[in-house]
Symmetry: C2
Subunit: 353 residues, 2 copies
Amino acid sequence: VPAAAPIAPIAITQGDSAGIGPEIIVRAFAEAPEALRGCFVVGALAVLRRAAAVVAQARGSRQAAVLTRLHGVAELAQVPHNTLPVLELPGLGAPQPWGRVSAQAGQDAARCIAWAASAALRGEIAALVTAPINKAALHAAGLPFPGHTEMLQDAAARHAGVPVQRMPVRMLLASRELRTVLLSIHVSLREAIRAVTQPNIVETLHITHKALQRALGRAPRIAVAGLNPHAGEGGLFGDEEEKIIAPAIAQARALLPGLDASGPFAPDTIFWRARQKDGHGGELGEFDVVLAMYHDQGLIPVKYGGLEHGVNVTLGLPLVRTSPDHGTAFDIAGRGVADARSLIAAVRMARSL
Amino acid sequence: VPAAAPIAPIAITQGDSAGIGPEIIVRAFAEAPEALRGCFVVGALAVLRRAAAVVAQARGSRQAAVLTRLHGVAELAQVPHNTLPVLELPGLGAPQPWGRVSAQAGQDAARCIAWAASAALRGEIAALVTAPINKAALHAAGLPFPGHTEMLQDAAARHAGVPVQRMPVRMLLASRELRTVLLSIHVSLREAIRAVTQPNIVETLHITHKALQRALGRAPRIAVAGLNPHAGEGGLFGDEEEKIIAPAIAQARALLPGLDASGPFAPDTIFWRARQKDGHGGELGEFDVVLAMYHDQGLIPVKYGGLEHGVNVTLGLPLVRTSPDHGTAFDIAGRGVADARSLIAAVRMARSL
């Protein structure tokens, strides 16, 4: 075996200790050691130790994963093979009861994220991959953020010395076959239609272009979906395509030379056209990413390809952050059976970015 | 070879003679003779002959498909093997120039549909499968119908002696893996939200139940999708789920004992849950059909699975009608290269209903 090449470190935050986060981290290290090379966990040794025990039990193994305590990122190169490196932050609480909302778990999850965000902004790590957290636990801990995105946005804005409004982000969802960026996320469909504005589309196209250009080494081919059936069929079923989306694409191109964005395309076929494989051994992949006009337009095709491969990427920040596309799954936490594939896919995606 | 079992006749209408309809009919008979057993074309011999010639040329074959002229449906049993039976309606026009809107082609297409609808309503044929027509051609022919559905609705209402409003229809789209029924079709997304009403959902559930119960021999398991992301997340992102969709499901159940309808479910995962195969050899198929709240919600996952297998079924009429899920494709008509798989899938679907 040749000596391992130096590899940029990636931090995986432990997530909510009452959820499946710690378990899927343990499983990911066991199931995909190659993909996890260069990764370490930011969390509490006791939390990871408990997770390792339930995973070993679920697998019928007497030997639980062995943890190695890191005192700093630089020690990562010296971690013994086949052990799970944990950088323990001082003062984290004990593991919390499985499947229950806990202020302590929320507080600890947030501290790990804050540490990793800061390390990424300082350039000490190449990326962060975040295990799932619980909104109610964050709220119980008195934290003013509903989720990861807002926490990272805040950290990045402070680091850059700008107001948080100057740090716009967008969510990219990816399966093995498809990437999609969402114009809006957690709002009603009625509100999502109101979010289809020219400035929003222009900003989203620019964020998407910049983030994927870094990853692909060339301008990404961006397809913009329409809002209405058949992209409005020439104005017969809605005029947002003609009045908002097409002018926004033109404006975005004029403002950013090199932007490769086209559309608006009929929503019902554009995701199929952008799909990397057609499911029968054929290749499509006309585009690198589809800009979806609302949450479900993009999420339905990504998830249709298999929930276990969904990855969530935050675009727009001066750091790389990915996460599995699922939650804390309190209903099955503590059984050691949660599926780690989405987390493994998130690690691979972080590496590719 | 045992003598062919008697098989219920299915009529395939020729569609617009300037489009790919006649060609894909010829290809379907050549590529899937078993599936097409018991089928015959309603159209003009000259139109099918021209299509057979271009298909033969595209395949590099010197021998074009042989047509057999039928003088009535009863003759179908005597049709020589490996020939393409055509029931020619009197007075149809000559084949029209490829790829151009033609009043004659519109008029002829409509006459074939009217004949087949009438034969189906009389019980002379088991089903009709319709090759694509062109809206502009129908309009040029002075016909008051924008498409097949309205024509069939009108014929069925006349046959039943009721006003057309008493013959409500819904569109079901099916791929090899997924069936979805649409609450509304060709309206803007804004208008589609307005079509999410309790009476519309109740009626759609009843139509879907009755049509698929006949096909499956049991109550279909119907999943109802939500309208908003995460089905509204308990009212946080929209209240249509709580105020309209859930009460409609309850009312539909109360009015029709035996109805197996549940939801509303998060739109981004319900199509994956209803998918018959997970794409990795696994089986899901929790539901037989998903009621989609708007056009693209249902069409995106159906088409994502592969355009070439999409089938369109009209539910609610006292006849079985299916069609391929594509149009006349004027841009490639006359080249003999159009893909017949969607038409073949439509024939199989008609047989199964």
